[in-house]
Amino acid sequence: MSVNGAVGRVRSRLRAFPERLAACGAEAAAYGRCVQASTAPGGSLSKDLCAREFEALRSCFAAAAKKTLERGC
C-alpha cells in the first residue's frame, strides 16, 4: 500500500472524483432517476437498462477530468 505505487495512484485519482461528479449534477440526476424508476413496483432492473444516461454521465465526467487536468490540478 505504498504512497507512490499503484494503490497510491488510484487513491489520488479517486480523491478527484467528488469534484468532477459535482460538475455533472444534471447527468448524474438523470441516471439516478432512471435506476430509481426501475425499483418501482412493476419495474425490473437489468444490465444496461440505463446505458444511455450512463454514457452521458461518463462523457461529462471525462470532460470534467480533462478540464481539471488543463487547469493543472
Binding site: E27, Q36, L57, R58
Partner: protein
C-alpha cells in the same frame, strides 16, 4: 482497566495459514473447523482477520486518524451512560476491541473522586481471550464484535471471564447500517455489470442477538436499538471515512475490484435516491446495545408459579401495598 485490541499473533496465525492454503484464490465463505475442541462445526469463517488487522494498522498510521473517530466516540459515550446507569462500582473492567479507547475517557470525566483510571493495553484476539475464569466485574465492547467470525464463541468467552454477578455491556452494528450504501452499490452493479456481490458485511439481527446472549449463558438480557444518521457530501467521502475508521470490507467473499464506472454509477444513484434538502447524503448507522449479566444467587429470578401474595386487581392501591409486603420482582 485492561484494553485488548487487535490480534494475538501467536494464537491466530497457524489456523489462518491453514485455511488460506486450502483455498488459494477462491472467493467463497468457507466454514473452517473450529479450534480447541468446540462441540460442533458451527464456526464460520466469514472475515479475513489478518486483513482486518492490516486495515486497522493502516488507518492508525494515517496523518490524522482521530478525525474519523466521531462515530466511535459517540457510541462510546452512550455505553459509558449505560455503565453509569448501574449503581455499582466495578473494580476491574475490560474494554474489548477498544481501538484507541473511546469509553474510558467518559468514565474519567464524570468520576470526580479519581481523575485517572489505570489502564493496561493487551494485544489479543476477540475470539481467543487470554484471561482466566471469573476475572472481570465489567466487560464492555464498543463496535468491534461485528468483525468476529465466531460470535457465539466470543460471547461464551466473555461470559467465562466475567465474575458471577458481572455484567457485559456491548454495542454492535445492526442490520440497517449503511443500507443506503448497500442499496446504491447493489443497483449500480446490477445495471452496470449484470449482477452484484456484497460490499457491506453481514450484520447480526436483533432476534439473534438475544438468542446468542442466552446461549452464551447470560441472564437478564436487555437489547435496545439506536440509529445515528451522519450526513456526508457524497458517497466517496463516506467510503473514505469508512476506510479511515478501519471499517473496510474484509470478508473472504468480497470482490477484489470495484470498477470506476460502477462507483460513479453508485454515487449518482445514492445522491438521487437518498439526498437531503441541502444536497448532502445521509448514512445510517444502526447500533444495538446489549446488556447481559452473569448468574449470581443475589440476582432476581422469576417467582414460582402460585406464589403471588397480591393480585393484579389491586394495582390501583399499589402505593399502599408496597411498603407492607415483599416486593415480588
Amino acid at each position: 482497566m485492561l484494553r485488548p485490541a487487535g490480534l494475538w499473533r501467536l494464537c491466530r496465525r497457524p489456523w489462518a495459514a491453514r485455511v488460506s492454503a486450502e483455498n488459494p484464490g477462491r472467493r467463497e465463505i468457507t466454514s473452517g473447523v473450529s479450534p480447541r475442541g468446540s462441540t460442533s462445526l458451527r464456526a464460520l469463517n466469514i472475515f479475513d482477520r489478518d486483513l482486518k488487522r492490516k486495515q486497522k494498522n493502516w488507518a492508525a498510521r494515517q496523518p490524522e486518524p482521530t478525525k474519523f473517530d466521531y462515530l466511535k466516540e459517540e457510541v462510546g459515550s452512550r455505553i459509558a451512560d449505560r455503565v453509569y446507569d448501574i449503581p455499582r462500582a466495578f473494580p476491574l473492567a475490560l474494554d474489548l476491541g477498544c481501538g484507541r479507547g473511546y469509553i474510558a475517557q467518559y468514565l474519567n470525566k464524570k468520576n470526580s473522586l479519581e481523575t485517572e483510571i489505570p489502564t493496561v493495553s493487551v494485544l489479543a484476539d476477540e475470539e481467543f481471550l487470554p484471561f482466566r475464569e471469573n476475572t472481570f466485574d465489567l466487560v464492555v465492547s464498543s463496535l468491534s464484535l461485528h468483525w468476529v467470525n465466531d460470535l457465539p464463541r466470543a460471547l461464551e468467552q466473555i461470559h467465562y471471564i466475567l465474575k458471577p454477578d458481572g455484567v457485559f455491556i456491548g454495542a454492535m452494528f445492526g442490520g440497517d447500517t449503511l443500507y443506503e450504501l448497500r442499496c446504491s452499490l447493489q443497483l449500480a452493479e446490477t445495471e452496470r455489470e449484470g449482477g452484484f456481490s456484497p460490499h457491506i458485511s453481514p450484520f447480526t439481527a436483533v432476534n439473534d442477538l438475544g438468542h446468542l446472549l442466552g446461549r452464551a449463558g447470560f441472564n437478564t438480557l436487555t437489547v435496545d436499538t439506536d440509529e445515528i444518521q451522519v450526513n456526508y457530501p457524497g458517497m466517496f467521502e463516506l467510503m473514505e471515512d469508512l476506510q479511515g475508521m478501519g471499517e473496510s470490507n474484509c470478508s473472504w467473499n468480497r470482490k477484489a475490484l470495484l470498477h470506476r464506472d460502477t462507483m460513479l454509477a453508485a454515487a449518482a444513484v445514492y445522491r438521487e435516491m437518498y439526498r437531503n434538502e441541502d444536497g448532502s447524503v445521509p448514512a445510517t448507522y444502526q447500533i444495538y446495545y446489549m446488556i447481559g449479566w452473569k448468574y449470581h444467587e443475589s440476582q432476581a429470578r422469576p417467582a414460582e408459579r402460585g406464589s403471588a401474595t397480591v393480585s393484579f386487581g389491586e394495582l390501583g392501591k399499589i402505593n399502599n401495598l408496597m411498603p407492607q409486603g415483599k416486593k415480588s420482582q
